[in-house]
């Protein structure tokens, strides 16, 4: 499958007036403490857009810390049109300045809208936008599940596997169009590595027993995984060619969900080693596993380390499933919303996760500081195990 690279869009700047540096406009939002919840949403209005472009812009801004509102209440106004191409002029009503004036050409209207919203987010907050990023998830229909990739909002979903069995645990290789996942195609849960560019794949781990939870390292050179060939599900790490396999845990209890610290030195995972599932960390070079304090939260699983290294988001079971964050070094945890299986976006601010709705699962986005939630466009079936391309 082919993805049209974002840089193919021709971005024509025909006017760009910045009355004062954007940092001055949005200082409060740049160094935002992600655990500081109840962060103020920035009021912004959209003028002149219709249909799909309006929907896409509203979705993009609502999930990235903005509140799309009427022009009278807005601090920023985006005015433009979507006749044949998307144009946009961003003005600061308070500072009385035009921050951006652009016209896009060359992509679909939808991709032009995402490109505009990324420019708006970057201009106002200084953060990189996420509207042109990709996600992968599992779609279950009946007894079988297949892997899909899609735009971050769930649009343009494409089926990656045709295995007609259980296929699960998708994970992107950072900065590459390559996925690891587990498929039962050969009658056993085995790990495959799948190049989305060429459409080819190969078996990556076919050991006896369980082969699951593959997590490529931030530099893509190594892979953490769960294998049970030693007699119990343990965390292992190996090189991207499958060599140098070594166990990082040796417990009699079940381990699951390895994830990497952004410096590639530490693996965080879930284990029942001390009787209840909890988060642990272990050096990728070996050594003892150490419990990560989650401030008394019990039954913690599915950790994911933020790309900026500061936070670990995870699921706890407290009656129902709840998404929580904890500082990467451990400490007080902050419950966020009901849901499970969270994964960070490249911006270390947005999280993609799964919600259970009437016996079915849906994939949603969460803006952590404002706790805004939006369901992505669902593919027919039960959608879960989302992960973000980074």
């Amino acid at each position: 499958m082919k993805h049209k690279p974002a840089f193919l869009f021709t971005c024509v700047l025909f006017l760009s007036v910045t009355a004062r540096p954007p940092e001055a406009v949005a200082q409060d939002d740049r160094e935002i403490d992600i655990t500081h919840l109840g962060a103020r949403r920035i009021p912004i209005s959209l003028e002149g857009y219709t249909g799909e472009v309006l929907d896409a812009l509203r979705f993009d801004l609502d999930i990235q810390g903005f509140e799309v509102t009427g022009a009278d209440k807005a601090q920023y106004v985006v005015s433009g049109s979507n006749n044949s191409d998307v144009t946009g002029r961003l003005t600061d009503r308070v500072g009385k300045a035009t921050l951006l004036s652009v016209r896009y050409t060359g992509g679909t209207l939808r991709s032009e809208a995402h490109t505009l919203s990324d420019a708006i987010v970057e201009k106002i907050t200084g953060r990189n936008g996420i509207a042109r990023s990709k996600v992968a998830f599992k779609v279950e229909n009946g007894q079988n599940s297949e892997i899909y990739v899609a735009d971050y909002d769930g649009h343009n979903a494409k089926q990656v596997t045709q295995d007609h069995t259980i296929t699960r645990d998708p994970a992107w290789v950072p900065a590459r169009r390559v996925l690891y996942y587990t498929s039962y195609k050969a009658g056993n849960p085995d790990i495959y590595v799948h190049d989305l560019q060429s459409g080819t794949r190969r078996a990556f781990a076919r050991y006896p027993g369980l082969n699951a939870g593959a997590a490529p390292s931030p530099d893509g050179r190594r892979v953490a995984l769960v294998l049970s060939k030693g007699g119990s599900p343990d965390i292992y790490v190996c090189d991207a060619d499958g060599s140098n396999l070594k166990p990082l845990t040796r417990t009699r209890e079940a381990e699951s969900s390895p994830c990497w610290s952004p410096d590639g030195r530490t693996i965080c995972f879930s284990s029942r080693h001390e009787g209840r599932s909890a988060l642990f960390v272990v050096s990728v070079d070996g050594g003892s596993m150490r419990r990560l304090s989650t401030g008394g939260a019990l039954n913690c699983t599915e950790p994911d380390w933020s790309p900026d290294g500061k936070q670990i988001v995870f699921t706890r079971l407290a009656g129902d499933f709840e998404i929580c964050v904890v500082p990467a070094g451990g400490g007080a945890m902050t419950p966020l919303v009901a849901g499970e299986d969270p994964a960070w976006a490249p911006n270390s601010r947005t999280v993609i996760f799964t919600r259970r709705v009437k016996g079915k699962r849906v994939v949603s986005l969460l803006d952590v500081p404002t706790k805004q939630i939006k369901d992505i466009q669902q593919t027919s079936g039960s959608c879960s195990q989302p992960c973000w391309a980074k």
């Binding site: 259980i166 060939k229 007699g231 070996g286 699983t301």
Partner: protein, 197 residues
């Protein structure tokens, strides 16, 4: 007592497998899984090479007792599965537990007797979970359940190479529904009889 038997057997298995690989022998309490070659096609010759473990130092030196083949004669990929033969022998588990309950052991003993009388056959043990765990956690828990049943078989005298495990996590419930009555039927270990083709 039961545990130490398992330990001894696993020590033997490990000693053999590690000895064959030319590494320093290390004991590991759980029984390693035999059968099914670990080398995926086309991933390079070095795939599967083990490097020394730094965690959990050995607590006991293994001794070699008897001759257990490194690669078992049994490979589940090359056998015909029968899902009905042991339909009445499904083992049930408590919520979030992978321990074989005393109430379930009689059903496993029947499987043990069958396997002892039919030495060319093997079993695959499916581990399943209810929907109340997270998905990756449940996949590991299901495997742990299947392995717990397997440990019981091995302890009872079935050769380790004749008992395979596969976890389905929560993705193959026996019955649909979202209450304890259905959950308790979905937390299970299922025996599939394997016959050579």
């Amino acid at each position: 007592m039961k545990y130490s038997k398992v330990l001894n057997l696993s020590v033997v298995v490990l000693a053999l497998s590690l000895g064959a690989a030319g590494c320093q022998p290390r004991p590991h309490a759980p029984t390693p899984i035999l059968g099914r070659t670990g080398n995926p096609k086309g991933t390079g010759e070095t795939f599967g090479r083990e490097t020394p473990v730094t965690q959990l130092p050995p607590d006991q030196n293994p001794t070699v007792r008897g001759d257990i083949p490194l690669q078992g004669r049994f490979n589940p990929d090359e056998m015909t599965p029968d899902h009905n033969r042991f339909a009445a022998n499904t083992v049930y588990f408590d919520f979030d537990r992978a321990t074989v309950k005393p109430s379930e052991t009689g059903k496993i003993d029947e499987v043990v007797r069958y396997l002892q009388g039919n030495p060319t056959q093997a079993v695959q043990i499916e581990g399943h979970c209810d929907e109340r765990g997270t998905e990756q956690y449940n996949l590991s828990l299901g495997e742990r359940r299947a392995l717990a049943v397997r440990e019981y078989l091995v302890t009872a005298g079935v050769q380790a190479e004749r008992a395979f495990t596969i976890s389905y996590g929560e993705s193959r419930p026996a019955v649909p529904g979202h209450n304890e009555a259905t959950w308790s039927k979905n937390r299970r270990g299922v025996f599939v009889l394997l016959t050579p083709k």
